[in-house]
Point group: D2
Chain length 136, copies 4
């Protein structure tokens, strides 16, 4: 198992008239969580697209909203990899507010697509290599 | 069972560098689907908040991305109510592109909150009344 | 001079904790205004990119916020072309609420870029042709 | 004159099918710029709303797009106050990419509104006090 945390503040742009972080913006928090997790592992998602020609479209997302997030809250985005990726990569997320309360749990599955052929491909070797020490 | 369709075009603002409708924007499509479904049933979500003091925060969302949506696609947002709401209301959605292909399926659960007390309440009578003919 | 109106509702996703349409979302309304104006003139912005290889990045935007827009308001996006485009195209916009009040005025300038060379190009002939009857 | 810099990465959610940071998202960068500038000055915009009952709606925005921002660029948001605020506060912004190139210049004007009366009010004393040393 591998876990990494990154923080992001709730911006005015992201609130709604309830005063909450709008439920549709959480997907962006998960995106930030997984990209910063990859960066922490020495991998750039940008490079994966630009140099390796591999992109990761989202297959499915499940999100449970346990409590609201409010304007200016500095949210911890906890990203968890429970298994080594193979044909898919599954990111689990927990969003934690400044009081330490878990306000949201999510699971996002993505697969690997060769940008030239538009077809599915397997997980880039570099990603498997950098992750495997955590799964031994 | 009750079903209603509403159309929305994919805007440039909603595309990403893959050329797809960004996965985080689908939640807005579901919002539009459920609000326009309520309006079609003679109910205004705005009035529910402003006059009845009831708001509907989202409890959970599940989304499966079956195929991409592209810029300028005129997407059919099919909203399905499989059961009468009680303490929760569950909206099912199917997004259909101009070729008739289902590109996304989702389930969004919301509950009813009394805006004064901040506590859960039951489904407004007017909503149950307007929906019940479809579930007899 | 040429003018065209298109309507768009303010969605929950677009409100902020003030209860207003967030100031950053107006740019999307202008986008919708200009694309639907082009469509009304028999031109598809999508086709312009896909078939003619011309894209229109924004050079400048000026926006004056005269009054707020609120949730569920059905906003009229008035798009005005005061001059025939040459090296640039200038769209003027007025957003009008359901009471007939002008709530926002904007001017957006875009130029024409050849997507292959990445360099500036002149206005597509088809656009000049379809617009010129209105400027005689 | 007072100036402060804050960094923000361009996220996938913010790109468009041109591969650029969508022109409508810059407003959010300005929001982040001014809020983090206030925080650096010892002022919380959240507290201004919650405790002092003062909110700052935007009156006008002018933006010039000089060059595109791309996915994953770590953008420096330079926020400049040229004058002490009185009835209005004017923020100037320069967005600078990782090569040191200024890609966007903007000016955003906001006024101070008493949230109870909905009417204009003057600049909070605390803000004037914290800023005045920079304008002597």
């Amino acid at each position: 198992m591998f876990s990494f945390s990154f923080h992001k503040r709730v911006r005015y742009a992201e609130t709604d008239k309830m005063g909450y972080l709008y439920y549709g913006h959480y997907a962006k928090y998960y995106e930030i969580g997984r990209v910063e997790t990859l960066r922490h592992l020495g991998l750039s998602y940008k490079t994966m697209e630009d140099s390796q020609g591999i992109m990761l479209p989202v297959v499915s997302m499940e999100s449970r909203y346990l409590a609201p997030a409010y304007y200016d809250d500095n949210i911890e985005i906890k990203t968890i990899l429970k298994n080594l990726p193979n044909k898919m990569i599954t990111f689990n997320h927990e969003l934690v507010n400044e009081d330490g309360k878990v306000i949201n749990k999510a699971e996002v599955k993505l697969f690997f697509v060769d940008m030239k052929t538009g077809k599915r491909t397997s997980c880039p070797v570099l990603l498997t290599e950098n992750l495997s020490p955590f799964f031994e």
